[in-house]
Point group: C2
Chain length 332, copies 2
Amino acid sequence: MPQLNRQILLVSRPKGPASVDNFRLVETPLAPLADGEVRVRNHYLSLDPYMRGRMNDAKSYAVPQPLNEVMIGGTVGEVVESRNASFAVGDHVVGTLGWQEFGTSDGVGLRKVDAANVPLSAYLGAVGMPGVTAWYGLNRIIAPQAGQTVVVSAASGAVGGVVGQLAKLAGCRAVGIAGGDEKCRYVTDTLGFDACVDYKAGNLWRDLKAATPDGVDGYFENVGGDMLDATLDRMNEFGRIALCGMIAGYDGEPVPLKQPALILRQRLLVQGFIVTEHLDLWPQALAELGGLVAQKKLIYRETIAQGLENAPEAFLGLLKGRNFGKQLVKLI
Amino acid sequence: MPQLNRQILLVSRPKGPASVDNFRLVETPLAPLADGEVRVRNHYLSLDPYMRGRMNDAKSYAVPQPLNEVMIGGTVGEVVESRNASFAVGDHVVGTLGWQEFGTSDGVGLRKVDAANVPLSAYLGAVGMPGVTAWYGLNRIIAPQAGQTVVVSAASGAVGGVVGQLAKLAGCRAVGIAGGDEKCRYVTDTLGFDACVDYKAGNLWRDLKAATPDGVDGYFENVGGDMLDATLDRMNEFGRIALCGMIAGYDGEPVPLKQPALILRQRLLVQGFIVTEHLDLWPQALAELGGLVAQKKLIYRETIAQGLENAPEAFLGLLKGRNFGKQLVKLI
C-alpha cells in the first residue's frame, strides 16, 4: 500500500475569473483507518460547474468550500481497505471523496455500484448526478408533453445531452444550444436532437428562432446570460424554465436578465433547483437512467484529463466550455 | 330613457408613455335592445394597470385593445332595460362593459351581486378582480406558512392591500412597499401590515432589509424594476415570487432584472399569472373575500374620479401611482 496521498486544496478564492493559482497540489501521509472506515482508491474524479460557486464566499447553494481543504467533488473508485462491514475490498463505489487519489469515508454517502453492465465512469455522468439533474429538471419542472419543444443550453454537456435525449424519448422536439460546429453536429447527429444552435456563430437570437418555429415550451438552463435572454423571448404561454446552472455569472459581475416582464406576459414558471435536495427521487431516476444506458438508448461522451495534477486546468477549461461531454479526471 | 351614450375610445397607441391624446370621448346613439340583451347603467368603472398593456400592439396577456373601440374595463351598475329573462330591471350586475355610461350585453360574463351587505364599488375591488388576484397569487403561488414573511409592492393599492391583510390573517409577517409617507402610514396603521417601506424615501434596499430581518419567503410583485431587484436580494431559500404586475416596464424600454442567478442560488419559484385564466377558483375566492368585507376583517380604500370624461386622466394618474387605493370612476 502506498503511504502518501495526493490531494488538491483550494488555497484562495477567485477575485474575478478562477485560476490555477487558487489550487495547490499537496502530498499527505495516509493515516491508518479507524474502526468503521473504508479507504477508496479513486478511479475518476468528476468536474462540475457547481464547484465554481463553492469557491466563492457568498450566497450559493451551500456552504462555501473551506480554504486549505481538499476540493469537494464526486468520485468513483474501488475499495482498497475496509474496516466497515458494509464494504469489502474490490467493491466499486460512488461517493463525494473530493480531489484526491485516496478517500477515507465512514461509509455515509458511499454507494456500491455494478461495474459489469454500466461503465464505472458513467456513475459520474449519465447515471450519476448530471443524469439525475437532467431527469429532475425535465420531469419535475418542465414536465413536457409529447409534441412540445424543449430547449437546453450546454447541450453537448453531461447534463444537457441527457435532457435532450430524455425529451426525445418523451416525444418532444429537442433543440440544443452548444458552442461550435463540432459540438452542434454531435448534438444532432450522435445524440439525436432535432436541431442545435451554435451560439458561437454570432446569431443566437435569429438561429434560435429558426430552430423553434413553434416557440419553446420548456427550457433547461445550464448557462444563463444571453442564452436565457434569447430563449425567454421564444417562450410560449405557460412555459416552464428549469434553472440548473447560471455559469455565465459565476465569474465577476451578475449578468442581468433583459426582459423579466416576459415571465408575466407569458405566465411562465421559472424554478431554480439543486438536485441534491431531492434525494428521495434519486433511486427512481438512477434506475431509469441505468436501464437506458445499459440498453444504449442513452448515450454520452466524456472528456478525460489524465492525472490529479491536471484537475485545476481541466476545471478551468470546463468553465470556458473547452470540454466535450462529461469532464472527468482519470486518477489511475 | 336617454338616447345618447357617452363612450371613451382608444384612438392611438402610445409611443413611450401613454397620454390623454390616446383616448377620445364620443357620443353615440343608443340602439334598441335585441332579443336576449340587457342594458346596464354603469355606476362605477374600474381602472387597472393591465389596461396599459392592452394599449400596446405587442405580446401581452391577451389580444390588444382594438383602436377606435370602447376601452375595455370592469364595471358595476344597474340593469335599466332587459330583454333577457335572467336579468330584471333593478338588478345590480358586475361585468366588463368598458369605458362607457351604458353597456349592452347578452348576459354572458354579467354577474348579479348583492348590494345590501357589500358596497357596490367593492365588487370592482376587494370583492372583485383585484381581490381575487390577491387571493390567487397569495394562496396558490406564495402559499405562505404562519410565521413566514410576505412582501407586497403597491401595498396601498387595490391588490396589494388585500395581499397583506390575507397574509396577516394567515399568521404571516406582512411587509408593504408603497410610495410616500402617507400611503405607508395607511398600510401599517389602517391595513395592519407589520411594516411598510417608502420607496420614494430613496433607501429602498436598506429599508427593505431593515423591514425583513428574517428575509422574505413570499413576494407578490405588482411593480417590477427596482422593487423586484431589491426583494429578490432578500429572498430566503425556496421562496416564491408571484408576478402579477410589471408596471415599471409598461412604458418604453424593458426593465432588466439585475441578479437572475439568485433564482437559482436560492432555489426560488417565480411564476407569472393572470387571474382571469383561473376562473374556476373565483367562486371560492369571492365567497371568502365577500365574507371578510362584510365582517369588516378586510378593509380597503378608494380613489374616485367623477365623470366618464375624467377617466383618461385618472388612468394616467394610476400608472404614476397618484391614486390611493382602488381607482374608480363614478359614472352616475
